[in-house]
Symmetry: C2
Amino acid sequence: MATSDPVYLRVVADIRRQIVDGSLPPGAPIPSRAQLTRKYGVGETAARHALRVLAAEGLIVGRVGSGHYVRDRPVLLPLHRWRFHDHHAPFGADIQSQGARATWDWRAEPAEATPDIAQRLRLDDSAPVTRTHYVFRGDGRPVQLATSYEPAEFSEPPAEESSRGLVARLSALGVKVTEIVEQVYTRVPQPAESDTLALPAGVHVLHVERTHWAGDRPVETSDIVIPGDRFRLVYAHSLQP
Amino acid sequence: MATSDPVYLRVVADIRRQIVDGSLPPGAPIPSRAQLTRKYGVGETAARHALRVLAAEGLIVGRVGSGHYVRDRPVLLPLHRWRFHDHHAPFGADIQSQGARATWDWRAEPAEATPDIAQRLRLDDSAPVTRTHYVFRGDGRPVQLATSYEPAEFSEPPAEESSRGLVARLSALGVKVTEIVEQVYTRVPQPAESDTLALPAGVHVLHVERTHWAGDRPVETSDIVIPGDRFRLVYAHSLQP
DNA sequence: ACCCCAAAGTTGGAGCTCCAAATTGCCGCC
DNA sequence: GGCGGCAATTTGGAGCTCCAACTTTGGGGT
């Protein structure tokens, strides 16, 4: 980053550094455009561009009439500890580690496959499926909503469902998972503010949109699809900040 | 999109539409700033901002001194057809479907676990691992480079390796995959042009950066990590456009 | 003590301009 | 016909300004 770099990048780099090293903690106000021009001796254009870049990176938010503020850091979840079979419970579970607390609730219900679901699970329309809603929390704050769909037959036997729960369900899927381990991908998502890539509907490309499940950053709605022969289909949705 | 929307969004929407519906095919030049101001009756600022947004979306590229041009569309791969066990071959494989041709090469080699690899595979430093390089192609063009690491013992027996290849390797991993089906995530990546999110090194959050494996778009380097007890670790790297 | 309003400050849209660096096409010269 | 170099064009950085809409704050005035 020589001094010949664009001026606005100098401002970006400096503010970003302060956010990263903690000089500017979450919630702290960023100097306004006017203040930035004075502080760094740059023009309004550069100051404004710098703020736009930082906002695009998700490090700050601009509130009209108020100012720019440092966003909350994402909740750091030790996700390699999220082992369903290690810590299962009838409804809700939690695991304490490294100071971060990961908990989740889930609820399964019978449903009929919509055309979209049916096609991707390779089932007939209106075929019986099991829909499961999940709420994942990090340090008490919900960080992900997910809805999974799987062929109803995979949820059998229903009597055993409540006792073995997720473990049973996941075990029943073992072989299938193996077969599609390299096929984890997402559909082209539709970000709220802009319909970025436009591809023929239904055509899947290996494409993962910027997605944060952790933290309070704005999460673009995005489907995680694990396709294959009759495999489960997980929809991950964003939460309100 | 009422007429009260920001002017620059009107321009963005119109150009994007033309790119999507094919009026502006890949390689086609986008009107210059000067032309846009006349064509849409907007100021330079709006025209410039519109081009910046489209470039940020990856739909167009700007070449200094020349102009903006529509980028190539991504290669559309029917990825649900990428089934290793359906179409395996000793070295290289291919499957023809829907006009798109997906092929890949791979080469396995013994290696020693680096500290980073060792930690995430829960092995000791310098433990024997099998490193496999993949080249995935769509319509002949390489769309993804990937390197996977797995404990060497998973690659046994070596004699059978060449005959059953990927199938054997994947089968051997079946159980492990089941256990971590919900844990697919990526490390916080480091985009080439900006070190976006800064998190303590080694801390994993459920975070997926914008990643395109298909097409000739610039792909930010990003690791796909499927953690768990001794599971494989896949590094996906971008290719030059 | 409390409430409301007005002034000041801030963001985000939009317009105009100047300039350096790079590209491209064209004109004229050999 | 071929070639070199100049001029027009284009991007991207940077500066300045005006304005509408929205927050915040600090007075009053009741």
